[in-house]
């Protein structure tokens, strides 16, 4: 890896394949996400987007391929070799889920506190110092609460901080899950369909939030999305997947006019698709 690439790419996926028995979910996929960019991964249903995410987040072990993450200070991690919880803890990759996975019986604030588990655990002396109420732990906990309050302010949920996360409206739950991931102070934030089930206004708010996250915190974002208003509105770079293969990549403008993408999305019949594919080459 040359030095230029390490400084600009945060995520470098090379020759990633994932097979489930005879089914090839992802086939020889390579792409890079630039530091500080919002990179989108799009494609029709069943294209293998979430599989890619699960490989990055360590929920699946890829059959072949390499996923290299380079942190802002230049440290490199090969994600396919890390255990799933270490990907978040050490490599600082946070993710959200397609179907929201908050802790519904815990308050919004508690959800954000759980996300700060590892630093708090160290501060509490692995529970022993915390058990006797050491002042160092108290300070750390207050800092954690302040961080949580900051993020709750950002999404306008401070007034509902003490309500059960499961009782919040759907859109709020989505945004709470995103800021919960942000509370673990990630270098790379992976969002799996963050706009699913949101109305137009909420999608707009989501765009603002994601742009603000990138601007204020320098967090790189990788997102899967079907909502084109989100994808086209905020992405710096888009990769299009179909049947586990990358079929196109580029800026939103390029993707919008790419005939292969249009074919994949509109589900053209075989002949037309073939024609389009050949024409696009």
């Amino acid at each position: 890896m040359n030095t230029r690439a390490t400084s600009t790419d945060i995520l470098d996926v090379t020759h990633l394949s994932m097979r489930f028995g005879g089914i090839v979910a992802v086939n020889d996929l390579s792409f890079t996400a630039k530091r500080g960019d919002i990179t989108a991964l799009i494609g029709p249903n069943g294209a293998g987007k979430t599989t890619v995410f699960n490989c990055i987040a360590g929920f699946y072990k890829p059959t072949t391929g390499m996923i290299r993450l380079t942190q802002n200070d230049g440290r490199e991690f090969l994600l396919e070799r890390l255990l799933d919880y270490r990907i978040s803890k050490v490599a600082k990759v946070a993710r959200t889920f397609q179907n929201i996975r908050l802790f519904p019986g815990m308050t919004a604030l508690e959800n954000l506190m759980v996300a700060q588990h590892n630093p708090l655990m160290r501060a509490s002396g692995y529970s022993f110092l915390g058990l006797i109420g050491a002042p160092g732990f108290r300070r750390a906990e207050n800092r954690a609460i302040e961080l949580a309050r900051y993020w709750l302010d950002r999404i306008g949920l401070t007034s509902r901080a003490d309500d059960a996360a499961g009782s919040l409206p759907y859109g709020d739950q989505r945004r709470l899950e995103i800021v919960r991931a942000m509370c673990s102070e990630p270098a790379l934030l992976c969002l799996d369909e963050p706009a699913a089930g949101l109305n137009a206004r909420e999608s707009e708010e989501l765009n603002t939030l994601l742009l603000a996250i990138r601007k204020d915190h320098g967090t790189s974002v990788l997102l899967i999305e079907h909502d084109m208003s989100v994808v086209m509105g905020i992405s710096d770079c888009i990769f299009v997947l179909d049947h586990g293969v990358k079929i196109a990549s580029g800026t939103p403008q390029q993707i919008r006019n790419d005939p292969k993408v249009i074919a994949a999305y509109l589900g053209a019949d075989e002949e037309t698709a073939l024609k389009v594919m050949e024409g696009g080459k």
């Binding site: 996975r101 802790f103 759980v114």
Partner: protein, 443 residues
């Protein structure tokens, strides 16, 4: 009891049904009763004087029972139509439920003060003191298991194994090496925690029912080892002559250097009972204090998060393996403490004391109390163990009454006596969370 507007309860409250529906339902109930009771009640069989089978019929009784079921069924349906819905839907006026909530805050301190005064009030009643010690032992076991089941959501059916490990640790260490109770107590806890981790490792990947089965088997394995490893554990004969606890080195005996003689008061065997009472109270309160503290620490929050959603935990960088193991170890440690106390109180232990029934009883206390609620578990332990004693006079109906009581309680309060969850941290004010949100955990 403070009743809140519970959406689930409102759904379950059936609307008033028509006469035809009620009759149909009652008829079906009567039919089921007829099929069931025709053999159980209708025909009575017995061995005759020469060993042959003789039987006689009791169709009159059978008819009465079936009619009784029919009538009772109609009654239940009518009651369901007329009484239950208003009771469930119309929650108490805000002022009343507010007072109840305020009162509830005083329940725990009041109970605590009362418990402290029990040996003073009932000094002459040995039976009550013994019962108090028994109840407190189960309160402690319940609080210990609450860490595993209530907080971390790991269904553990073999909790009695750790109780046994603690008891045998103390018994063996004390009888073999002559170590004192106060040295053995932490050792028993550590050994039980060690076995907790040992159990934890193989079951880390298991969830729900599978986890329950393995923990159940673990409990049985420990019991069978105790039963069969004659050389060490004495097998079914158990271990006798376990030393009684001393008051920090001063024995509670009727001798020159006993506590009574040193204090210059007349010796009474009740002294020891009172001492044991305060000992188990202190141990139980230690369990409670540690659990409450741990719950507010990151590890406790991780336990609860694990109960809510394990996948999300891993995505947030929580080492679920360590988290589960610490939950098992913490719960087991308290079980071990309780076991050591049990051994020193009884002076004799045998595998018979550590059957699955004990595990089931402790689990029932935790579930009945409301998983995760410290006060609920304490109340449930009082109700269960106290209830057992209360119905002792009924002998054969005891289990029947008890079973019905539990079924009714589970219908009316499916999330246990105290089904609310208090948040561990808050910005403005701690609002209790309705149990409908809180998950039970899936292993």
């Amino acid at each position: 009891m403070a009743r809140t507007t519970d959406p689930l309860a409102r759904v379950s409250a059936a609307p008033v049904h028509g006469v035809a529906f009620i009759l149909k339902k009652s008829f079906i109930s009567a039919l089921v009763a007829l099929v069931l009771f025709s053999l159980m009640i209708g025909i009575r069989t017995e061995a005759g004087p020469t060993g042959q089978l003789i039987y006689w019929t009791r169709f009159g009784d059978l008819a009465m029972l079936v009619v009784g079921v029919f009538a009772g069924s109609i009654l239940v349906e009518l009651l369901r139509g007329s009484i239950k819905p208003p009771a469930f839907t119309s929650s108490m006026p805000a002022s009343v439920s507010g007072t109840f909530n305020k009162l509830r805050r005083f329940v725990a301190p009041a109970l605590l003060v009362f418990t402290f005064l029990v040996p003073v009030i009932f000094y002459d009643q040995r039976y009550i003191l013994d019962l108090g010690i028994l109840v407190l032992t189960y309160v402690m076991l319940g609080w210990g298991l609450n860490v595993v089941v209530g907080l971390a959501g790991l269904l553990d059916l073999g909790y009695v194994a750790f109780y046994a490990v603690g008891a045998y640790s103390y018994a063996l260490l004390a009888t073999t090496f002559g170590l004192s109770f106060w040295v053995c107590l932490p050792l028993a806890g550590i050994l039980a925690a060690f076995w907790g981790v040992l159990l934890g490792f193989p079951v880390l990947r298991l969830r729900g029912d599978y986890l329950a089965i393995v923990t159940l088997a673990f409990g049985e394995i420990i019991r069978l080892i105790l039963l069969n490893w004659q050389k060490v554990t004495g097998g079914p004969n158990g271990i006798t002559g376990i030393p009684r606890p001393s008051f920090f080195g001063i024995p509670l005996t009727n001798t020159e250097d006993g506590l009574a003689a040193k204090l210059g008061i007349a010796f009474s065997p009740t002294h020891r009972v009172v001492f044991l009472f305060y000992l188990i109270l202190a141990l139980a309160l230690l369990t409670n204090w540690v659990t409450i503290r741990l719950r507010r620490l990151p590890i406790g929050r991780a336990w609860e998060a694990l109960r809510e959603d394990e996948v999300a935990c891993r995505a947030l960088g929580i080492n679920t393996t360590k988290t589960k193991l610490t939950a098992f170890a913490t719960g087991a440690m308290f079980g071990g403490f309780a076991g050591a106390f049990f051994a020193t109180r009884q002076g004799f232990i045998s595998p018979e004391s550590f059957t699955f029934q004990e595990s089931a009883l402790v689990l029932a206390i935790v579930v009945l109390g409301g998983m995760g609620s410290q006060l609920g578990v304490a109340l449930a332990a009082v109700a269960m163990i106290g209830g057992f004693e209360l119905f002792r006079g009924f002998e054969q109906f005891r289990m029947l009454v008890f079973g019905s009581a539990m079924v009714l309680l589970m219908i009316w309060r499916p999330r246990g006596l105290i089904g609310h969850r208090a948040p561990t941290v808050f910005l403005e004010k701690p609002t209790e969370l309705s149990s409908t949100m809180v998950k039970e955990g899936h292993g």
